[in-house]
Amino acid sequence: MGGTNHKNPFDFLANPERFMAFSRWAAPMFGAIAGVLAVVGLILTFTVPEDYQQGDTVRMMFIHVPAAVLAMFVYLCLGIASFLALVFRHALADAAAQACAPLGAAFTVLALATGSLWGKPMWGTWWVWDARLTSVLVLLLFYLGYLALRGAIDDEQKAARAAAILALVGVINLPIVKFSVDWWNSLHQGSSTLLARPENRLPAVYAWPMLVMQLSYLSAFGSLWLVRIRALVWRRKARSLALKAAEA
């Protein structure tokens, strides 16, 4: 390919030096974008009119839905990174998987907690063993299992392999979370975002704050993910130098 070193997009992941050069400016850039979008999103959140049914609780949707979408998206990233680490043994793929798990767990906790706070006044209960809620709880358990497994095995390579297999098993849960509201009778409403059927879509007045907050969450994740991968690259470098010093 015409003198370029990039054979495929994943080569970029395989070179820590190139990644560190890229993430040095990309992480703060995504962080700044997330901050600006969060300010705009919060202004829109507190200026939209109350919903005729949900009243002021509609404002919680603008922090709940993006958290729920990120909970699934981050797990997809975890699954892809785990696959690349397990099969192709890319140098940075395992770090990418390890770095996104705590963030995904945090987004899932946020989705469950804010959903519960919305559910009490609207459904009359904090929690129901409904297909959507239960599958999101299972998603959280997969994140916690991944983190626990990595922490429980001393040999980093064995821990990475075991955790990657667990992460890949958990990918099966993603379509269950997404389509649970279609496959089973659910208290949880179906999709009402831009991709939903026109009759189910949010009105523009609510769609804008939702979109802006969604992009803010996504940028924040992008920034924090890069920062955490950088931390893991430095950690590996520090440990490798410590090992060399001990051998000398």
């Binding site: 202004i43 507190f46 200026t47 009119p49 109350e50 009243g55 002021d56 609780t57 404002r59 919680m60 922090i63 709940h64 958290a67 705590p102 963030l103 945090a106 906790v109 946020l110 907690a113 804010t114 706070l117 919305w118 009490k120 006044p121 924040a220 924090l224 920062v227 955490r228 950088r230 931390a231 893991l232 430095w234 950690r235 470098k237 520090a238 130098l241 410590a242 060399k244 010093a245 000398a248």
Partner: protein
């Protein structure tokens, strides 16, 4: 454009949701930045030690 911060009877649910979101984001940002700072400093310290050890080996 008028801000509406009065959530009325739902304030007891709305505000904890926003506070919790702020706390979790605060944790994610602080934990990520502190980990990056800590391991960068550690890697640089180890590298400096390795460099010093290399120089003292050459000086022998």
């Amino acid at each position: 454009m008028q801000f509406d911060f009065d959530a009325g009877k739902y304030a007891v649910y709305v505000w904890p949701a926003f506070v919790l979101t702020a706390v979790v984001f605060g944790w994610m940002i602080a934990d990520s930045l502190l980990a990056a700072r800590r391991w960068r400093a550690e890697a640089e310290r180890r590298q400096a030690q390795a460099k010093d050890a290399g120089q003292s080996e050459l000086g022998k």
